[in-house]
Symmetry: D3
Subunit: 288 residues, 6 copies
């Protein structure tokens, strides 16, 4: 018992320098992957968010809602059209995305945070015209997929100053009120830059960037932003990891101190990242 007390005190005491380091700073957490579907992980993440918020860190929770969108589209009998392997967002789909992200995922997170004793406010990119967007122009026409033109940080800052944790659903709109589906990683990076965040944490379903995907010990714990290009070219970051790596790059080049891809499958991965020097996953930073 005494031993356990001592261990407990040790852990709390060890947290002190990290609390001091992040106190009053903005940390943007992009929530997604398994951590968003597994009930135990879900609760752990919300508890972590509330804890960070209580110890003086300004946490902003940004989320998409892939699986729930898919299942709702299916339940509504809306067929998904794919263009070059990517889902095409037609008008009807865009409306469902808005409805599910803002009405289901977002409010469920707000309730979960309340369940952990936190006070959250569920916002979307539409509220206070926070995420302003236009049609994403690219080689392939993806329909109403949005390209962020401006982040208005006022609704986020006001919410934080009012004492609430902002939980943000990543839909945006243009001046005519047309809604766009916005990639949540991209939105999180844009928000982190606009807020001058200390840190952006992307929750993924992998351990981090690894030199050999079959060898857990080959995890790259930290990488300078200018080296990312080589890692991508060298095949270390592949497939779905590439856009995530690009988001990190974008955030760090835009002034965010560090961007971390953590393994959301580990319970309390956010706490473990924040409350240690080594962190978990792969951290991207800008060298002097």
């Amino acid at each position: 018992m005494q031993a356990s007390n001592s261990a407990k005190a040790g852990v709390l005491t060890a947290a002190l320098p990290y609390i001091q380091k992040y106190w009053g700073k903005v940390v943007v957490v992009k929530y997604g992957g398994n951590a968003m579907t597994d009930e135990t992980l879900k609760k752990a993440v919300m508890s972590d968010i509330v804890l960070l918020s209580l110890v003086g860190i300004k946490v902003v929770l940004v989320h998409g809602g892939g699986p729930e969108i898919t299942s709702t589209l299916k339940a509504l009998g809306i067929e998904s059209r794919f263009v070059g392997g990517l889902r095409y967002t037609d008008e009807e789909t865009a409306k469902v995305v808005q409805m599910v992200l803002c009405g289901k995922t977002n409010k469920d997170l707000v309730k979960l945070i309340a369940g952990s004793g936190g006070k959250a406010m569920g916002l979307s990119g539409l509220d206070g015209c926070m995420i302003q967007a236009k049609k994403l122009e690219g080689e392939v026409d993806l329909g109403f997929v949005g390209d962020i033109t401006k982040i208005d940080t006022e609704p986020i800052l006001a919410t934080m100053n009012d004492g609430y944790i902002p939980v943000i659903a990543t839909v945006g709109a243009d001046e005519k009120g047309q809604v766009y589906n916005i990639n949540a990683d991209t939105a999180a990076a844009a928000i982190a830059k606009a807020l001058g965040a200390e840190n952006i944490i992307l929750m993924t379903d992998i351990q981090g960037l690894m030199r050999d995907v079959h060898d857990p010990s080959s995890l790259i714990p930290a990488v300078e932003v200018s080296e990312l290009e080589a890692l991508i070219k060298g095949g270390v970051a592949t497939g779905g990891m590439i856009p995530k790596v690009r988001c990190c790059e974008d955030a760090v080049l835009g002034g965010v101190k560090k961007a971390v891809m953590i393994d959301g499958r580990i319970e309390h991965s956010i706490l473990l990242e924040i409350f240690s020097d080594e962190g978990i996953g792969t951290m991207i930073y800008k060298g002097a």
Copy 2:
């Protein structure tokens, strides 16, 4: 041209005493009925809300979302069960209600307000635990239909102080996170009472309370709250009007200066109510 200018100036000047009367006061508008389905009326309402807000009136927009809930339930193939003529809200339905109200109706209104040049924040009773509820106990079990236990005005006040028009979707939750469908009229009355509103305006699809429903000239423009009982017993208020009259009664007895049932089918009915002595529809007040 000169004549038109003079008429224009006359209208603006005539608005002065009403602006003075309501300046800095809270007016809760319960949005519903035809005004919520007709595109022209919709825009007119939002424009009215923005105008009132700009001239210094603290407008709070409260809404339900009947038709959209029904159509989404249908599209999802969820059958509606009725108990004693009232829709039963099972768990699945409650989830759809939350999703549609918070994700579709609410955010669409936020966008419409933005389209009129206003700044709105879409809230639900879940955000900041604003509407706290428990299961409504009555003669018939209606499932997850909620009975309001507490309104936390903090999220509403904070939103207004931050310079946004609060748009509120009327779902609530209990301490365990169970969501309840809350009658929007009831919620609007509770919010008006909690905010110490000057005025609650219920948008309906009738002209107001009428002595003879077939005679437009029999409209009752104003009625003292203690006379409502007699009007109900006398059959002046019947059917779906009775709960609306009860909401007005509740609000007025709870300290709201006046409660008005207006005809939402008339364009700019809110402006006409606010900017005249006689108003439109039926006003319920408390005598000295």
Copy 3:
């Protein structure tokens, strides 16, 4: 009735974009001419001022008081001396100017605003040393006519922040306490510049700048500031209009977005100017 209601709502709704445009901006109104002697016009102006103030526009009312000064001088048996056609302000006259402007005209306006339900504070250039002046040096010695050396905006800003409409009598003083008569147009322009006003409105007794003074249709609705010189040389602005045009020029070159000479003989000319795109009278602006 319905028609009239619809017209009423139309006018109010049409005002919305103009309220949004001017909300929180400073508009300096130089009050003078017929609008200052005709009782009906007087009340209309004060009502306009109160209305603008209520819808969030920061109105500053600046006035001289020609006719009342003249009649008081006459009643006091003080003879007016003229030099080169201009009235010479001797010490005794300067005292009367101060007394009439600050004690009669200014306070009468404050009362009229109160009569329209507004809250006004009557200031002069002497209060809080707002208008600091020295003797105006020119070809002709005009006695105690002042040349503004500094506008201290603090008393004006404080008054507005305290929730009062500032009504300003244009006398100034030097460090020794010598009072100077200051041209009200000049003072209004200086105040508009010092406050970084959006707009200065000069009330005159003509329709505006006209290419042919006998042809109402020849009104010049808008003119770029650099073209003014040509208009003066071309005889479009003559006589007493020239100094007014110069004031507009001075204001616009000093950063005020637009300067408008409106016809004060039209009832509610201020509202008509603010609440329309075309405005009335002649607007002077700075091109890109």
Copy 4:
């Protein structure tokens, strides 16, 4: 020199407890009598006001303007009508009173304070509807002589908070904008009560209340408010002193800590009153 330095330091040091006593407290000074006509006394009073204000005392200067009103009426050829020995204020006279008090006396004081390095704001009872009045009803009809119905302290408090010394001309108005001449002693007492002043100082042209008007040593330095009745009945306070004594009585019964009638003919009489235990003149207080 050394001696003089020592004396100087002694005086300054002796002022310390009085500054501490009055720091942050409101002191209303009713300015009048010789102190208002003699140039040397005038400057001394203004210098005193500025000094008190700088050492943290919230001074409010209230003034009438008898002699200047009389001379202006005369210059304007307006005959004064007397009723029962009191001047009758007809409409024309009321207008002159407003003009002279607000435009001449008030602004001249503002300039004098500026000359002593202070920052003053000249207010009247009309500004911000500060002094609300109705016709004084009495045995004799005195025309537009006012009876105070309400003091709105907001304009005074705002002015003080903005860092200006409020200088108040005692005219008032009713809701229709009719101006009334208000006795300055009465107004000062009403203002002192409304502000919860620590002290009201009435400047007079006598030494104070004296048991024998021919014997300077018979000055009554202090008197409990309940003893005033006896002093009046005993003939110690007579004639013009009686209304002044009544004002003091009114102020003290209304919560002002002390009311002092000082001899305004003595230079710096205000400083001498404030910076000593014994004060000068006669002090009226409320016993336990």
Copy 5:
């Protein structure tokens, strides 16, 4: 490693409800005993204080300085006189007490807190006249031992609002500036009451109140305040523990939610007390 991470996350997560419970509340820690002499314990206490402060708890550190006073008196060759077993505080001793407590103990603590990354402000009861005292009257004359007459919380509140941890040396003074030695437990209780603290923690050198001092398992974890009398009479609290128990009683009866006597010999005993339901030591509370 993974295991250790999981344990770490578990401890941090377990701290969440306690942080929520104490967030924004005042906790007064009376520092003393072994925790004040052992270097390791000292650092642990300061680290705890900084941690609590960072997670939003308003910690006030109150200390005496027994051993350092004794050794300094000895070094100065001042003999201690004892009366009835208690040290007599003569004038010379009172001066040494002030010097050692305020100059040595207090500032050493401030430095230690700085060493843990905290920002502290060292105050004494003399600063801002925080602890006002008179001579303690009792059966025995103890010289300049003080009895608290008033706690002025302003210096403490100001220090906390300015973002510093207040560290308070318990000397007080009377109006003449005579310094008194104040028992630190008593002062801590008085400060806790004056601040409306949630909690007062007294650091002692025993495990807590024990039914059998030789049986560690007989520790009384919690006791209702009304039962203290019986415990004292029953000999459970004896000797030096009695005044400590009385301080707890005084604090709890004066409105402090709970008073806890903890074993300061255990490292991080403060964290263990705050971050668990059972706490450590003996807790005294007031039953419903």
Copy 6:
């Protein structure tokens, strides 16, 4: 009596321009010399400090404590070691310096200010890490004598904003918590520079800089900072005066408007300096 009143009023009135000049400005007073040992002078200084503070001057009192340190070291039997004529501060001595300055001198001054009716807060360079220092490197090793590396003005500004007079003991510390003895003149100059003070006043035991030390009339009342070098070389400033002159030079070159060395042996020398044009002692300023 009348004469005396007149003289009194004269002195107070004469103080007006000086109060205006220094109102809201920071004046740093370095307290030392005879003024610190003579009881009458002590009280006079504290009374001056309170008076200046009340009339709106932001006074910061900085002190060393030479004689008290010496006598305590002696009483503790700690021998003073001298190196090159200067006292060597070993670790034990540094501790005594901290104890005496912060615990005795500092708190005694706080009590004296309270005795004059002021509210003071006794700070040291350790509180809030205000004076950060490192070992002074020079030709001779003086032990723990400190060289200021940074002044954190936050604790001083917070104390002033909270309404207290800051009294500062000049010890500092490095990051490891090692305490250093800091020359009080040097610290006062550094604090004055960091605060952007208007004025630094050094209290000395001489009349000022004199061309002939035996001729009082040879006092140099004012000297431009660039001429100091010549005065030192010319032998006008010698011995212990040289470092004081260097402090004044440092302060003035660092932005302090004027630095004055005054004769602290004269009662109320601070008042005499502040409340006159000529001041007393020698003033050092920076020419245009």
